[in-house]
């Protein structure tokens, strides 16, 4: 059957072909920033274990302009990360019926986002309360 010559097209640069793919890659990259921030926090926990001076040193380091810039970037990626996480969450859940009606994806996403916002606000106030 050599008369057929099916042509296989390259996948190089596939992620640039479509705005949807670019947003997907951005979503995936936010995981790197999440990991980076986790390391920063982990560092803080370790310093906490090394005593007050060490911990304060860590806190001071966080206040440098470079660190603040880093944290702003990370915050932005976290917002996108959270939003995209809850946007995709419905497809990972089983099909659910409540009161005979199918639970809509929007409900799941909305619930997740609301829970995230409430949690952030709560944590903020707790931290505020402790540090003041």
């Amino acid at each position: 059957m050599s008369i057929r010559q099916p042509y296989v097209r390259s996948m190089d640069g596939w992620w640039k072909r479509n705005a949807y793919y670019i947003r997907y890659m951005a979503r995936e990259i936010t995981a790197v920033f999440v990991a980076a921030y986790a390391l920063v926090l982990l560092d803080g926990v370790v310093r906490l274990g090394q005593g007050e001076a060490a911990f304060n040193g860590w806190l001071q380091a966080l206040k440098t302009p470079l660190s603040l810039a880093f944290h702003l970037v990370v915050l932005a990626t976290f917002v996108y990360h959270t939003w995209s996480w809850f946007s995709i969450m419905p497809i990972t859940m089983p099909i659910m019926f409540v009161g005979g009606k199918r639970v809509q994806p929007g409900t799941i996403t909305g619930t997740g986002l609301v829970a995230a916002v409430i949690t952030c606000v709560a944590v903020f106030f707790v931290v505020e309360g402790i540090s003041s």
Partner: protein
Amino acid sequence: MADTEKIIEIEVLRYRPEQDKEPVLQTYKVPFIEDTSVLQGLQYIKDYLDGTLSFRWSCRMAICGSCGMMIDGKPKLSCKTFLRDYYPGKLRIEALAHFPVERDLMVTVKDYVKRLEGLKPYLIPKEARTLEAGEYLQTPQQRDRYMQFSACINCMLCYAACPQYGMNLKFIGSGHMAILDRYNADSRDGGRDERMGPVNEEDGVWGCTAIGYCSVVCPKQVDPAHAINMYKIESTMDYFTRFVTSGEADK
């Protein structure tokens, strides 16, 4: 044709294996009428400008699944994509992405069909029933559970949307998973365990990274992304309970 004839330029990626080493772009000038679909534009080209342009089509109403192709870089059915959404700009048409191109806008379909056949996409009844006993009973709600996934027209747009499939043609893909769940979730069916083998493999559901573009392009709102990601839970459960069951889960 009308006296002030409007023209739309359609650029098609051609490929004739007997003369082309690789695909080559060819532009056609097609008369633009308000209601015409991209399919009708292609038919005009084949009928009056260039009979050598090959493409698949049949029903013209987005139910047969023949006419999937890349229209301005997005996987769509040409019968329900309309020229008016691109006019007066140029329109670029290519064969469905991620599939080998056999000829012009026709891709290799047999691998898709073959893989579907291997997944046992048919009812395996939980219990036998004679014809005299009539139909199995199934409530409207039981039917609702699987109907969305049963709407798949095998158009393969979801495979054209999936870069994981594009990079690994052995990946099961979301479309087939929708068809599998259509049966697994059918209250009359008892074949779920028999179908899990290919699902649990690395080229099964684990090849999916929840990009989700497949559900965006599905012309029948099947939501195959949901089907394949749901099965990650199923597959995980299978993995942990495989010692509890009779060992049939890995079939």
